[in-house]
Symmetry: C2
Subunit: 222 residues, 2 copies
């Protein structure tokens, strides 16, 4: 599994994306640039990929046409020109940011009026637990041990490397922050694999027990 | 604990309510009429309480001034006059309804343009589990056993009487249904008791581990 098609939630994200033809697009946390190249292939007029990892950006540049601009920046201190983009996209990075409201403000300002903001992040049901990990309940059912849902803030996990820091927020907190930043919520999805996906990848079945990803489409209100 | 003040989530609901002075209000699932009387005391111009239980409505009428109208109706087949209300309120009944989209359509039609819809319902984190009930994890932490989150539909529980039927929906399903019905999401809250509430009622502490109630404020868009 590799690139966009390797992400089980990609079909859901695609449904939320506007037509990219002729659009000016920023990808916050672009990694190796998979989405940036997809956007260019779909006819985007301008594509900017931003990431904090120079290593990933270097690889992204190697794999991309020069029409895509890559910029190294910390998303929490990033600045973007005003009313200059039609779509801001971000896949699975916002839960690493402590100051999300500041990022939402930058995105709002960078979008044209009625511009789209489509992002995915880890779902708070997935992030909340003190001890994230499946348990088997008495009757043999797989359960996800939700705890500390209302205790927002740092969560340290061991994913890829040990001691990775993420920031748990209640779902209401993220949505209210979006609304207060001047966005209108257009659609929200909580990723669950389809029966077709499970048939192809049986290990995905457990993902129907609790949502791992939140996918949001919002529109700049004014 | 009794009436509105007896509900731990009432302070949160109050923050979401508009000024009721002069407003025309419907309470869907009014029970004994506590909110209807509160609305009248706050200066509402017109108050209609709807419930399916004649027993509760009879008690509501006994306790209420005649200015409040009570009507027996099944919320899933209720009709209301068009553009006739400024606020539709509903507390902890919508999760009992199988056909929520039909109710949202009736509410949308009954509200004036920019009218408010404020409701609470059981949170899907609370409703999803096959076996709802606290578990103690190995290190002694209280956990809520989320499972079957993506499997929407009937849940049978034993609350007050045995075999009570509720309908679990993913949070995304409820919000998207609202948006497709022509509402704009204004604010969402996931009830968690404050430290002051826990000091007064220590048993509430566990409610910070997972949200029991969802509270939503939406506005008729057009």
């Amino acid at each position: 599994m590799y690139g966009l098609a390797g992400a089980a939630e990609w079909p859901v994200i695609q449904q939320l994306l506007p037509d990219l033809e002729g659009k000016r697009i920023v990808d916050l946390g672009c990694g190796f640039g998979w989405f940036c190249r997809f956007a260019l292939e779909q006819g985007a007029a301008k594509v900017l990929g931003v990431d904090i990892s120079e290593k990933m950006l270097s690889r992204a540049r190697d794999m991309s046409p020069s029409a895509i601009e890559y910029r190294r920046a910390d998303l929490e201190t990033l600045t973007l020109p005003e009313s200059s983009y039609d779509l801001v996209y971000s896949s699975l990075v916002l839960h690493y940011l402590e100051h999300l409201a500041a990022v939402f403000a930058v995105v709002h300002r960078a979008l044209v009026s009625a511009g789209d903001f489509v992002f995915s992040m880890e779902h708070p049901i997935y992030m909340a637990p003190e001890h994230p990990g499946w348990l088997l309940s008495e009757p043999g059912t797989r359960i996800w041990p939700v705890s500390h849902y209302a205790e927002e803030g740092r969560r340290t996990t061991n994913w890829l490397t040990s001691g990775v820091v993420k920031y748990h927020r209640m779902l209401a907190t993220t949505l209210n922050m979006l609304i207060r930043s001047g966005f209108i919520l257009c659609q929200m999805e909580e990723f669950a694999p389809t029966q077709e996906q499970i048939a192809a990848h049986p290990a995905l079945a457990e993902e129907r027990h609790r949502p791992m990803f939140l996918i949001v489409k919002a529109r700049r209100d004014n």
